[in-house]
Amino acid sequence: MLAVTRSSLPRVPWRVCRAAYATAPSLNPVIEQDIHHFSKILPSTSVVSTLSPVASPASDLDQFNNDWMGKYKGQATTVVKPKSTHEVSQIVRHCWERRIGVVPQGGNTGLVGGSIPLKDELVLSLANMNKVRSFDPISGVLVADAGCILQSLTDYIAPHNHIMPLDLGAKGSCQIGGNVSTNAGGLRLLRYGSLHGTVLGLEVVLPDGTILDQLTTLRKDNTGYDLKQLFIGSEGTLGVITGVSILTPPAPQASNNVILALPKFDNVLPLYKLVKQQLSEILSAFEFIDRTAYELAVKHGQGRALSDEDVRGAACFVLVETSGGRREHDEEKLNHLLETLLEAEKPLINTGVLSQSPAQFSSLWALREGVTEAISKEGKAYKYDISVPLSSFQDVVDGTREHLRSKGLLNDSAVKHVIGYGHVGDGNLHLNVVAESYSPEIQAALEPYVYEVVASHRGSVSAEHGIGSMKTHALHYSKDEVSIALMKKIKEIFDPRGIMNPGKVLP
């Protein structure tokens, strides 16, 4: 229903659009009396506000009011940085009583504006909650404050030969609480599964300030409704995650990777099938980069390029990573696979390169991971993070390119590139449209076109980036009316006053 009205609206830049989803009118702004109250709960260094008596310069709030892409901008006057669950609870209870909107914020590395206030809500930064609570090297269960940075957790458990079950580009800034509340995917999902499986327990401050303690370390617990699952991926709309208990797998003892050059996209799926069969449990990544994405990564210095000879005739590339417990075993499997590939009568691949050292291993990964950065250097990106059946990856990319061409937008002054890359293993395609600048015409050509294409494949409009404020209007392309109505009821039960991250996720 909403879509009909929206698509019939005149197309205006997103910033103006967002006014339509602004904070519910019943919410109150933060005022001086609130600052006084927060100052009683928190030390003075933990309250940043442009209001008196704190009166910080507005620039101190910039990093909390803006996202890293410079796409979303909030007008929060106040940021609080509690150090303990108890402090979070006191702050949230006050906001509940005063009906002040609360935006929980982790590393602020999201892509859909989920951690940026829509108006002048209170920003609750978890950055100061950064202690590891416990780690059991036998079971591998890690219990940590929500504000722990993913990389620091990785470093913490590395001496115990464990790794975090998730890894993503933003690992140096993103926080585990944010990862969980957005159900972040990333590069290890193929191997270790999603956070719905690896998170064992959560501690959450509910919208009225009550502390929900489900911070268990049990792997098996079939006792009633699994409430923690509701908070995983709810993007802070149901409560503030303050502690996370997560199962970490043992660190692989050996890793290898190989980039394969394919003559046509149609070969990706048979290749995936063969690779899965032969590598079996040591397969840890199967990533797809189309030729345009590869060229961009090389152009912007992400990883060392393959030789011209190896690239010739390649329509796309696949990066395969193995990680296992014993190098000889892994290499034997990998070598056998590569021999099968090269000696096949109808080869699926043109050629490929196998990393010979950790330096080359990183260089090959950089070609894939560097695509995001290369795109931001090339121009302004419209990013669509979609799940579609593997077989339609290329159709979606080519279809979008043709659609833009038919609208006369595919040229140097409008859209420069339409590229696809992503996690084939998870059915997750990153469709990126790189333009000279953001413009209403391009926006109108892409939406709802892309969402409709996704819906036609019964795909997801947000595979791993979430909904945030960017895609609330598109939720219905992936979730039917019954589902959305139930989601709204759940929100109503947890947060009848609508103070938690208002304007996010639900339309």
């Binding site: 060392r304 190896d310 090269l342 010979q356 050292s357 950790p358 330096a359």
Partner: protein, 271 residues
């Protein structure tokens, strides 16, 4: 000892298997050495040497008759040779030492290489080595002497720390630009020559899958020190290996006086 008469080059590339440079080095609990149960790869300077040999062939075409890689090391060093073969070397010699044997020192390595070069020249008039390209140092022991010692033992020209190499096969001459303090130096030397590589010489290629497969079928010879009549027993005895002292964080001082007092306390005096 002199190279072949025909105008065709035979290149020898000695390579070493070393702890990969990305690995964090840890001293073993007995303090007799480092933990070697970590990822190893080809010494990066040697990788540059292999790449340069392959590039010489790409430039000089048929004038390069052969590129032979050689290593002295434990059984696993054969992987390093496979990498060299995958990058484009034609054949390999592995002078194998037992897993537990100490790492040979530069003089012993140079003498082993000399023995191999002599063996090659005895094998036929057109198989004598004309050019040896090797890393300027190995990143594990950082000794940086093997190339120079080999040149000394053979009485050949030496061009160390090369950042550019050109070879005129007809004139039997090499022009090499060397990295020196404050700039670079261009030298001309007669073949046969020992060239040691510096970082800027080239950027080694990836090993492609077809070449990795082909490498498995290339000639691969295994020898022992005894076969070559050399003694690899080290002349030096390692007494103890320790980690550098841990960095201690600094402190903050409130005033200049306090700073001066702290400096005095630390025994620092005005000059």
């Amino acid at each position: 000892m002199r190279p072949s008469k025909a105008c065709l080059l035979n290149i020898l590339v000695p390579v070493k298997r070393a702890v990969d440079y990305a690995v964090k080095i840890r001293v073993n609990p007995q303090q007799t050495g480092i933990d070697t149960n970590v990822k190893h790869s080809m010494n990066p300077f040697d990788e540059i040497a292999v790449e340069e040999a392959v590039r010489l062939r790409e430039r000089l075409k048929d004038q390069v008759k052969s590129i032979k890689a050689v290593t002295i090391g434990p059984p696993k060093s054969s992987e390093t040779l496979r990498t060299a073969l995958a990058m484009g070397a034609d054949s390999a010699i592995h002078v194998e030492i037992p897993e537990s044997a100490p790492s040979p020192e530069p003089l012993a390595v140079a003498k082993t290489l000399r023995a191999i070069i002599e063996r090659q020249s005895k094998a036929g008039a057109d198989s004598g080595i004309d050019v040896v390209i090797l890393g300027k140092q190995a990143i594990d022991d950082d000794l940086g002497m093997t190339g120079q010692m080999l040149a000394g033992l053979l009485g050949w020209s030496q061009a160390t720390f090369a950042s550019k190499v050109e070879i005129d096969v007809e004139k039997k001459e090499a022009r090499v630009i060397r990295e020196i303090d404050g700039g670079s130096e261009e030298i001309k030397c007669r073949l046969p020559v020992i060239i040691t590589t510096d970082l800027r010489l080239n950027e080694p290629r990836y090993a492609t899958l077809p070449s990795i497969m082909k490498a498995k079928k290339k000639p691969f010879e295994k020898l022992t020190a005894a076969d070559l009549g050399v003694d690899l027993t080290p002349q030096l005895e390692t007494i103890k290996v320790t980690e550098p002292p841990k960095r201690v964080g600094g402190g903050k001082v409130e005033t200049v006086d306090e700073l001066v007092a702290k400096l005095k306390e630390a025994g620092i005096k005005a000059v």
